[in-house]
Symmetry: C2
Subunit: 141 residues, 2 copies
DNA sequence: TCAACTGTTACGATGCGTAAATGTGC
DNA sequence: AGCACATTTACGCATCGTAACAGTTG
């Protein structure tokens, strides 16, 4: 999971390795449809395309997709994910907008923590229901 | 949460108390739209209606709605929720179909436990991301 | 009669699944 | 020439949100 993607044959080390969508989707654990959808809504653009139109991704995009996948349990909307990614990009770039990007990231951190609380609450509720069902399904009345 | 709904004035104890949709939705923590939707798809039918068409629910329906709300974090489809509720009803009725109802409930118990595991996994992932965001948002690079 | 509540109908958004028909890479 | 992989387009589904407009209750 933390290991780099297998290198395509015929690529020398040091160059940026490019991967097709299937390879990437499989690696990250998303469907092709989902990866394309994320592109459609502006979350992840492939690094390039082949002459014939095949999407080609490099490591940066893969990391981005992994991040997005991590965000999913938080229940963020695409809009929010896009903003979050943009804020990170801005920080990465280190330009004059770094400050506001910091603030926005902080906001999302708070949101994430809030969602975590909700998730914990949901989990407790689900566990309770699971116990209840198990009991009902094995009890004679 | 475990306490009964406030009793409408003018109702003597012992009779089945009836409540309008707003009261019920508010009590259970669902939107009016959602309660109506659940009716539309056959999950919960109001006990009766007023002359003018207002939905009236009794305690049984309220319990049903609470159960449904508990199921939500499990990510069950409406179909599955319906089946689960039917199985419970069948058990409650205590007819000759009790056995298969038991089995189906057992299946849903297993499903619920599986979902709990997934939820826990999601939670861990979310917590990891939250920590990461918090760190990035407060760190100077 | 008025405020607060409720009714139905219908269109919209989200996040993909899934299929169809076709093209690309090797 | 073949086989796995990819492309676009498009319709469908689930789960409600959100009007819009009208009727009901007390």
């Amino acid at each position: 999971m933390a290991q780099p993607m297998s290198q395509a044959p015929g690529q020398s080390a040091g160059t940026t390795e490019l991967h097709q969508i299937g390879e990437v989707a499989n690696h990250v654990g998303l469907s092709l449809r989902t990866v394309r959808y994320y592109e459609e809504v502006g979350l992840v653009q492939p690094a390039q395309r082949t002459e014939g139109g095949f999407r080609l991704y490099d490591e940066e995009q893969v990391v981005r997709l992994e991040l997005i996948k991590q965000m999913k349990p938080l229940g963020l909307t695409i809009q929010q994910m896009r903003e979050l990614l943009e804020a990170r990009d801005t920080l990465e770039a280190g330009g004059p907008d770094s400050k506001s990007a910091h603030e926005r990231l902080g906001g999302y951190a708070a949101l994430a923590e809030e969602r975590c609380r909700e998730l914990r609450s949901s989990l407790r509720s689900a566990e309770k229901l699971a116990r209840q069902l198990r009991e009902e399904s094995s009890t004679e009345d």
